[in-house]
């Protein structure tokens, strides 16, 4: 038996821009981004919350966009990989990923970067072991794990340096 799907209003701020449309409730945030808005930077690696490739920030927190119905987060601020570089300048985490060779095929990379940015906010950055544990929701089949941890540690060190600079 099939059921009737009535379109539901969807209102979001995506990378700072307003979005409003009526959507079938079965559209996930991930499919909205990729298929209806052309924001292909957010990747689909499993569609079941098991790989982390679809990680985006919703109201500043990292989540898996494949398991969120787009209509279910009214007025949320969604940040994707497309939204983190400013005026064509890479976000420091993006640059660090390039510098430490923190990816190969690049498919898990946007999710890793979004996750890493959130990780810094969360503060689970006291040791490599802690960073590893709190990045474990992002799988990488190319096995770029060492580079990813290196990239995050670089940014952590930069931030500490900046804070030390401010304090001085």
């Amino acid at each position: 038996m099939t059921h009737v799907s009535v379109a539901v209003p969807c209102r979001l701020q995506i990378n700072g821009q307003g979005y409003a449309a009526d959507l079938p409730p079965s559209v996930t945030l991930l499919d909205l981004l990729r298929e209806r808005l052309g924001l292909i930077g957010t990747k689909k690696g499993c569609d079941h919350g098991q790989c982390g490739a679809c990680t985006v920030l919703v109201d500043g927190k990292r989540v898996k966009s494949c398991l969120i119905l787009a209509v279910s987060i009214p007025d949320a601020a969604v940040m994707t990989i497309e939204g983190i570089s400013q005026n064509g300048r890479l976000h420091p985490m993006q640059q660090a990923f390039i510098d430490t060779d923190a990816f190969q095929c690049g498919y898990c990379t946007p999710g890793q970067i979004m996750s890493a940015i959130a990780l810094l906010e969360e503060g689970h950055i006291h040791s490599r072991a802690e960073i590893r544990e709190f990045m474990s929701g992002n799988l990488c089949r190319c096995g770029a794990y060492n580079g990813i941890i290196d990239a995050i540690e670089r940014i952590v060190a930069q931030q500490r340096g900046n804070h030390a600079g401010e304090a001085a």
Binding site: A118, A129, E133, G137, L139
Partner: protein, 335 residues
């Protein structure tokens, strides 16, 4: 995922209409996954994220009330939880991934469904998913399946980490439904499969979890959540143990213990816990407790290793709790 209608009520009674074909949506980490797998086919989804139940509050008895809609991550990071219930925080952090924990809610965790391969595959016989079709997990690839509390109809493991700690903490579940409010001990909340494995728990149609109450847990540092799994993170438990011990002059005044990964529900055996009362920690005591906990365990084709492994994990967890060195969820060395 099949079509469904969607609503987002802001009042509890509006949400609890009580039809079988309705599912409540909170974090979505399990429901959306199941809908995509064609396991759940709700006609209507009630999004409850606008309801209240989003606070963690003090209880007069010194305990805590966890709102059903507080996320796992916020719960694990809440100062009242980390301060008074580090066992719970630890178990939450042992589960899933940071992204999932940012979405998943406490109420949702109670209601999460099994990871049984056969449950997840609509082409397979599964009494839990499709009553009366049989249990393909029996005789199948069932390394991850339960060894305790199974029935002919079902051997599916209950997969939560958080609930194992809740069981060890003797939490109480607060429910609201068409018939009003009621409370259920978390230990009685989940059901054994028996002949009706499609009913995971005691929830009635239209009934909703509103909060989880934690009684005071006077364990100090004498607790642990020890989880053994196939990879070091982001994997369901093969065996997990939540322990809290109330220590007094080198003796265990009272002990509380629950097992995950091995049972069809969070596995608690009061007789096993009673063995601890008044005893000093010892290998023989802990071995007896483990043996009692595993009493009646039955393996199927692939999962006998759980029966061999579980007693050792239990003993180790009891020692960790007894000496007051809870398992770190970051440092993967098991002390």
């Amino acid at each position: 995922m099949r079509s469904f209608s969607y609503s987002r009520p802001s009042a509890l009674d509006e949400a609890c209409q009580g039809a079988e074909s309705v599912r409540f949506l909170a974090g979505g980490t399990n429901l959306i996954d199941l809908m995509k797998s064609d396991v759940e086919r709700p006609a209507h989804v009630v999004d409850i994220k606008s309801l209240p139940m989003r606070d963690i509050t003090d209880r007069p008895d010194g305990g805590l009330r966890l709102g059903a809609l507080v996320t796992n991550a916020d719960t694990a990071a809440h100062p009242l939880v980390t301060g008074r219930y580090p066992l719970l925080a630890s178990a939450i952090l042992a589960g899933a991934s940071p992204q999932i924990r940012n979405m998943a809610t406490n109420g949702g965790n109670l209601n999460q469904r099994t990871r049984c391969h056969y449950f997840y595959d609509p082409a397979m016989a599964c009494n839990k998913r499709s009553p009366g079709t049989g249990c393909a997990a029996r005789g199948g690839r069932n390394r991850i399946m339960a060894v305790l509390g199974t029935s002919d109809a079902c051997i599916a493991t209950f997969p939560s980490d958080m609930c194992i700690a809740l069981a060890a903490l003797n939490a109480t579940v607060n429910l609201h439904g068409p018939q009003g409010e009621r409370t259920v001990s978390v230990r009685d909340y989940h059901r054994l499969p028996g002949d009706t494995p499609w009913r995971d728990n005691v929830l009635q149609p239209g009934e909703i979890v509103t909060a989880i109450d934690l009684p005071p847990a006077p364990f100090g540092p004498h607790h642990t959540y020890l989880k053994i799994r196939d990879r070091q993170s982001f994997a369901f438990a093969i065996v997990s143990v939540a322990v809290g011990l109330q220590m007094e002059d080198g003796r265990i005044r009272r002990g509380s213990i629950a097992l995950g990964g091995v049972g069809t529900k969070p596995w608690c055996v009061p007789e096993a816990e009673a063995l601890l009362n008044g005893q000093p920690p010892s290998h023989s005591l802990f071995r007896d407790v483990a043996e009692r906990l595993l009493h009646g365990a039955v393996a199927d084709r692939d999962n006998a290793a759980k029966i061999r492994l579980a007693p050792r994990v239990i003993e180790r967890a009891l020692w960790q709790a007894a000496v007051g060195t809870p398992q770190s969820q970051t440092d993967k060395a098991i002390r």
